[in-house]
């Protein structure tokens, strides 16, 4: 089974090759088929990888047969396989929905290039997760970032250009910081392989260079994951990007950035350095708390629903960072659970909005009065996603919040409980504004005669919505994997 041996690279290579194919085909339908096939193949590869990892443990793959630390190593452990599944699963669903949505939002002659860029983002994100090489991380980061600037700028609204430019500036600063950080580490250790870095860093940890490298990396990654107050690029980028891109980025891009944070914090620098010497939690904790409260508050006042969800994402990232800041196995488990669950809920919500854009062409709250009667299935999925976002029991959001609060309580940080509760209540307010208008206000006369979105948009949306319920009722798979991944992060690298 030689193909199976090459899975770690295949999962990245498939979409990477699909990108030029899309351009070469230069035909909307063919390009879509190529992208669809690539996404589902990657998904299959990611599942196979996860099965392999859980059966035999961490996989180390040597690119071109060059042994690490000289060659580039691809390293898939539980955490990586978990994130790969999130990214590929979302991509697979997004591609199904993409056909109709893209046909509506992107001019015909640009569709092929759109899919090419989407595949590049996808490949880049997967590469960041799969690789075990610090410089390779930077390369893939740039691949995905540059492609995503292009994607965002393709939004129908002219403000998309501005948003893309804003993101370009911020993203480039972030990437540069990451590069500088990696450079500093390389200076001190002479290696770029993460395993090797982890082994050599402790000896030089007490140097200003390493500390500065850590700082650069943290801020660089913080920009990428929209850590408060480095989140300013995110709301516009999500709000004005084409629907498909909003779904995909919201559900995956920040997740991969969080993965990167976990990777550097735990696998490269190590728990003791990060939290002992650098006391990262003292920085993360207040920022996460402010993010939860302030971004939720801002979300309450948004008229554009995509912007509202974008601010909500900033708040949700706050929850993820909160778990990280608790810095115990339970805390990191909660973080990783929320990583997955947030992808599910935001995926469902943004996808439902995608269907709304397809049908109505607007996501301004005032235009959507009474939409529930015309698009009951779409708005039904929206309600499920919204309940999960609030954290109502029997939805996925409840599970991750439960873990987060127990983690906080078990280290005696009971004062985090009100913060999380207030965040949830603010979420009630901002999603309920929508539910109220959409289901209970008299219908907007302009909507008369509108029907449901096409089935190809509906079923991925409902797939995600039902996943929110499934993983809220039976969380074996997610909690098990998250716990295993967290234990590995703590256990293997003390």
């Amino acid at each position: 089974m030689s193909l199976m041996e090459h899975l770690p690279i295949l999962v990245v290579i498939i979409p990477l090759l699909a990108a030029p194919l899309c351009v070469l085909a230069d035909h909307p339908r063919v390009a879509w088929l190529v992208a669809l096939a690539a996404a589902w193949l990657s998904f299959a590869a990611a599942i196979a990888l996860a099965a392999q990892v859980s059966a035999t443990g961490t996989i180390s793959y040597q690119l071109g047969g060059w042994a690490p630390p000289w060659g580039i190593e691809y390293r898939i452990d539980t955490l990586a396989s978990y994130v790969l599944i999130i990214v590929t699963a979302i991509a697979a669903l997004v591609m199904v929905a993409a056909k109709e949505s893209v046909a509506r939002e992107i001019p015909g002659e640009r569709v092929a290039r759109f899919y090419a860029a989407l595949m590049l983002v996808f490949a880049g994100l997967l590469g960041i997760v799969a690789t075990g090489d610090a410089f390779n991380v930077f390369v893939f980061l740039e691949v995905s970032s540059l492609a995503s600037y292009a994607l965002i700028s393709m939004g129908r609204d002219r403000r998309a250009l501005n948003a893309a430019f804003q993101y370009l500036v911020m993203g480039t600063i972030g990437a540069t910081f990451i590069l500088i950080g990696i450079g500093f580490l390389y200076m001190m250790t002479g290696t770029l392989n993460m395993q090797d870095l982890a082994a050599r860093l402790p000896a030089v940890a007490d140097s200003r260079t390493v500390r500065a490298g850590f700082a650069f990396l943290t801020i660089g990654i913080g920009l990428k994951l929209a850590m408060f107050p480095l989140h300013l690029w995110l709301p516009n980028a999500y709000a004005y990007a084409p629907s498909v891109v909003s779904v995909f980025l919201a559900a995956t891009a920040t997740k991969v950035a969080v993965y990167l944070m976990l990777r550097f914090v735990f696998s490269v620098f190590g728990h003791d350095f990060t939290f002992g010497q650098m006391a990262l939690h003292y920085i993360l904790l207040p920022l996460a708390m402010i993010a939860i409260i302030s971004a939720s508050l801002v979300a309450v006042f948004q008229e554009n629903l995509k912007r509202m969800l974008a601010y909500s994402s900033v708040a949700q990232i706050g929850y993820i960072l909160l778990g990280l800041a608790i810095a115990t196995t339970e805390g990191v488990t909660a973080s990783m659970l929320h990583l997955f669950n947030h992808a599910l809920m935001k995926g469902a919500l943004f996808m439902a909005l995608g269907a709304v854009v397809w049908r109505v062409g607007s996501v301004r709250l005032a235009d959507l009065a009474g939409l529930g009667h015309y698009m009951p299935w779409t708005m039904g999925a929206f309600v499920i996603g919204a309940l999960s976002l609030i954290g109502i029991p029997l939805t996925a959001g409840f599970v991750s919040k439960w873990y987060l609060v127990t983690a906080a309580m078990s280290v005696g940080w009971w004062w985090l409980v009100p913060v999380i509760a207030v965040g949830s209540l603010l979420a009630v307010i901002y999603v309920w504004r929508v539910i109220e208008v959409v289901w209970f206000r008299p219908a907007n006369p302009q909507l008369a005669g509108y029907g449901e979105a096409p089935l190809s948009l509906l079923w991925p949306t409902w797939g995600l919505a039902l996943a929110n319920l499934y993983f809220g009722i039976n969380s074996d798979l997610t909690t098990g994997t998250a716990e295993a991944a967290a234990a590995a992060l703590f256990g293997g690298l003390r």
């Binding site: 309940l387 609030i390 954290g391 109502i392 029991p393 029997l394 599970v399 439960w402 873990y403 609060v405 127990t406 309580m409 078990s410 409980v417 009100p418 509760a421 207030v422 949830s424 209540l425 009630v428 309920w432 109220e436 289901w439 209970f440 206000r441 008299p442 809220g472 009722i473 039976n474 969380s475 074996d476 909690t479």
Partner: protein, 486 residues
Amino acid sequence: MSGSTLIALALLLPFLGALLIALLGRAVALRDGVVLLVPLVLLAVVAQLPGPVLAGEAPSLFLIEMMPGLSLRFEAEPLGVIFACVAGLLWPIASLYSIGYLRGNKEKHQTRFHVCFALAIGGAMGVALAGNLITLFAAYELLTLSTYPLVAHKGNDTAIRGARTYLGILLLTSVGFLLPAILWTWVVAGTVEFTPGGILAGKLDDGLMGILLLLYVYGIGKAALMPFHRWLPAAMVAPTPVSALLHAVAVVKAGVFTMVKVVVYVFGTDVLTGLAASDWVFAIAAATILIASTIALRQDNLKRRLAYSTISQLSYVVMGAFILAPLSLIGAALHIVAHAFGKITLFFAAGAIYTASHKTEISQLDGIGWKMPWTMAAFSIGALSMIGIPPAAGFLSKWYLLLGAWQTEHLMAMLVIIISTLLNTAYFAPIIYAAWFKPPVDDAQHGEAPVAIVIALSLTALLTLLLFFLPDLPLALAQAIPGTAP
């Protein structure tokens, strides 16, 4: 049928009903047939629950482990069976009434209404039969969410604003206090399963235990303890069948039921007996009884007066539980039943008056008794029950509450019950008097409400009387609750 099959059916039927109603939305006659039939089947199911439970069995149903150590599990115990039977008994009657009311008032969105109604009953069954705190919480939230569309039903500004208050307070209390309380319990006790005698003994010192108790007491917003009571009057914008079954029975009873459940199965009466915070909760409940009754005096809108009366009556249950005497606990359990029968009758009557004459204010009701004799007779019986005069069921529960207070020489409790009885009389007697003995102020020509409505309210009035004469079954169940053995 085995106990666990019964539980499964009791939980499944409302959801099945909701699904069928949704599917049959356009076939109105068929849909309304389902609306009537499913509750009857459910009644046949829950009516079989008391047997095994009184025989000392504890039928249970394990669904799934949601998170390690936290499962969706249901168990029938005496208190829950009482609640399930009350809801199961009143749902068919309320369905009959709903059909009459919705058609009589030509309400829109009837299918959505019936679907959400069935879902709410599903939530109530879940609360009644939950085997642990987390299951109970899930069902509790389902009940909140499924009743929201019913409160917002009319879709005008008042309805939406009322529904906002409703949802806001219920979610604020449940997410802000109840969930943290459950999490705290989970962290210190390592379990959230309902256990006779409680799971918290010796786990926290008195101060923290008191805080936890207050978190529970205010977290259970559906019990409408002041100052978190405002959602209940706000919910009165809903169509009357909703106020009747949900905001006099299912939702509010889910609140006080949860309260008693927490007292008996989470804290345990032994832990609470020595706790200073128990006295505070008693005081809060007593204050709620008196203040809400006083406010009720001043309401001219009939439904609002009934709502404040409900708030006050709910606190009887809470107070009964926190007198912490075996007999008053029996009184609390009985009051869940007695108040349900009486208050649903009163709301049914209010809705009948509205449907027949479009009157909503008490000052408009002069002489209405002779135009709507059935309705006002039922109303009078319901009012007697609220005041606690034989031969209405309310007497029975108040009697046990008083006995419990007597037994523990709880003078405060006795005083509160007596004053509040006077207040109850003060706000119900004038209505009855005006309806029967004052001359009509206008010459509006109307007769009785539609026959479905009249049948429904006569049935519940009859139940109120029957409970007084045949209290054996609920009494036996109440006496089977752990902690009620003298």
